[in-house]
């Protein structure tokens, strides 16, 4: 039986960059425990000898020629930005004061 606590969810939410309300934390802790119990059965059949599949196609690297091709203008690329300044995305402070 998986037992995901409120604090476990709070830590995951921090990693995933989502603020969650107390209601959401409590609800998700309960739901996650149930879901993890249901999906944990993948471990029953995953033997050492079975290679993992990460992707359905056996692709390695796909390259293109390094040539200039049409792309978005700066105005187009910035058209959806919440804030912009001098042809750049304007973002809130990233580094601390120290």
């Amino acid at each position: 039986m998986s037992n995901i606590s409120r604090d476990d969810v709070a830590n995951l939410a921090k990693l995933a960059r989502i603020d969650l309300s107390e209601d959401e934390l409590a609800g998700l802790a309960k739901e996650l425990s149930v879901i993890l119990d249901a999906v944990a059965r993948v471990q029953e059949v995953a033997g050492e000898d079975v290679p993992p599949t990460s992707h359905p196609l056996p692709l390695v690297n796909v390259f293109r020629e390094d040539v200039v091709r049409p792309s978005l203008t700066p105005q187009e690329a910035l058209s959806g930005a919440p804030e912009q300044e001098e042809q750049r995305f304007k973002v809130p402070q990233i580094l601390g004061e120290e």
Partner: protein, 494 residues
């Protein structure tokens, strides 16, 4: 005219019996009359559609050679970007966003003269099986407005079933084209992974996501399939090989001598009796047409749902990191970039999306990675092997598309596991990257609602699904004395 197939509309257009502007106006009128009840569309682009239609008409009257579907209208799932047209993915996160470019699918639709009517409703970021997870309210099933139209592409399926569009585009990560088709009495195809470009498709789970055609007939789906498929240098996972000849296969529709494998694990417990009865009747029809029905076993399919609900949330937790309130979408909150991100993602994402991001973050976190995500990837290998063995015994594999007919809106929204079970028969094909089609198998005896028949084919042999689907469709339409949607209740202006 709006009740005709897309191919019939295309014929009328090429004979000059109707113009694309007239045809587009007829569909816009239907949208105006019924979509208040159905809520299939999130955005209707009246002006853009009419402009596109008049361009097609002008080219046709100038004597230009026109593509097969030129002038026929289409509904586009709101997960594909179209330049200048609001694209929300059913999420508050992207409210008001207008993409600066066209997805490859949209570019191909425009090149083919297919008229884009608007964007259809969906579960937020394609996560769901009922379209109830849309931030803009649920879509209703035209067969019964108290029931779900399937999901995540419920807007696309409902638009077809209510004659608001003859063609639609869907995307299928675990069944989001096929299960909505099944519960609305329409046709939906998930092509082989890599068969249709993902460029401009907002990613949910990149190794599973595949866009494909939705229609009311198998032949209509085939024409749309050929219009959107093919190699795209802008999608490094797009397959560089000729598109399977699906139109020719749909026209051929000959199953004599084909081996059709019934998957033992995709029936029985959990499947509605009426759905299974219709499935078996379809098998009898295929046998009567000269196909050989064999039973195959795919013993690891019992683990497919569990593997899917680790792999898809894991990939989504990574993919949805792009919604960071910095480059597009909404921004909320004060303080540092991190605080703004945290706050924006709290109000921008709905409940199911948060649930999956948190689940995926857990499955990928150190200490749990091997046990969850790693094990799920191994199950994925076992499922592909199951398919490989089964395709040695049969040309195509079949099952019911969804275990039940459409359920009531609200019935399963508080039980994630019950909701996830809808996809039990569609998920294995996504994990293996092969193609799957759903077409109507009839109306279930218990509730009079449509059920779906699923056909699965090996990678890049999508034509085989169309061959079998077309053969079955002809016989079923004869039995029903016309397309199944003729039996759907008439919606209209109040």
């Amino acid at each position: 005219m709006i009740n005709k197939s897309a191919v019939e509309m295309a014929e009328a257009l090429s004979k000059g019996e109707i113009t694309s502007v007239e045809l587009t106006k007829a569909h816009l009128k239907q949208i105006g009359e019924v979509d208040e009840q159905v809520h299939a569309f999130l955005h209707v682009d009246t002006q853009g559609a009419l402009e596109q239609a008049s361009q097609v008409d002008a080219k046709r009257s100038a004597g230009e050679k026109m593509p097969a579907l030129a002038g026929v209208p289409l509904a586009l799932k709101d997960v594909l970007v179209q330049k200048g047209i609001p694209t929300t993915c059913g999420s508050k996160m992207l409210e008001g966003w207008r993409p600066p470019y066209d997805s490859t699918i949209v570019r191909k639709l425009k090149e083919n003269g297919i008229v884009i009517l608007g964007k259809t409703n969906m579960d937020e970021f394609a996560m769901g099986s009922s379209t109830e997870n849309s931030a803009y309210g649920p879509t209703k099933n035209p067969w019964d407005l108290t029931r779900i139209p399937g999901g995540s592409g419920g807007g696309s399926s409902a638009s077809l079933a209510s004659f608001q569009a003859p063609l639609a585009i869907g995307t299928d990560t675990g069944g989001s084209i096929r299960q909505p088709a099944a519960v609305t009495g329409t046709v939906g195809v998930k092509p082989t992974y890599g068969g249709v470009s993902r460029y401009g498709l907002v990613a949910f789970s990149s190794s599973l996501d595949q866009a494909g055609p939705c229609a009311r007939t198998v032949l209509d789906a085939a024409y749309l399939h050929e219009a959107i498929a093919g190699h795209d240098p802008l999608d490094s996972t797009s397959i560089n090989a000729p598109v399977p000849a699906v139109v020719a296969a749909a026209k051929d529709g000959n199953v004599k001598g084909m081996k059709i494998g019934v998957i033992k694990e995709l029936q029985g417990d959990g499947y509605q009796a009426g759905v299974l009865k219709l499935f078996n009747e379809s098998l009898e029809i295929l046998a009567s047409l000269g196909a050989e029905i064999v039973e195959v076993s795919c013993k690891y399919f019992d683990y497919a749902l569990a593997a899917y609900y680790l792999i898809a949330p894991s990939e989504c937790s990574s993919n949805l990191a792009r919604f960071d309130a910095m480059r597009y979408g909404i921004r909320s909150g004060q303080g540092s970039a991190e605080e703004v991100m945290n706050s924006t993602r709290q109000i921008g994402f709905g409940r199911e999306v948060k649930r999956r991001i948190i689940l995926g973050t857990y499955a990928l976190s150190s200490g749990y990675y091997d046990a969850y995500y790693g094990s799920a990837q191994k199950v994925r290998t076992l499922i592909s092997r199951d398919f490989e063995s089964a395709f040695k015994l049969a040309d195509v594999l079949v099952s019911p598309t969804a275990p039940t007919t459409a359920f009531k809106i609200g019935e399963k929204s508080n039980d994630p596991i019950a909701m996830y079970l809808n996809d039990i028969a569609t998920i294995p094909t996504n994990l293996a990257g092969i193609g799957g089609m759903s077409l109507p198998s009839g109306l279930a005896a218990e509730d009079g609602l449509p059920a779906g028949f699923q056909i699965m084919a090996p990678a890049m042999k999508d034509d085989l699904m169309y061959k079998v689907g077309a053969a079955l469709e002809v016989e079923l339409n004869t039995k029903w004395q016309g397309p199944i949607l003729n039996s759907a209740p008439k919606l209209g202006a109040k």
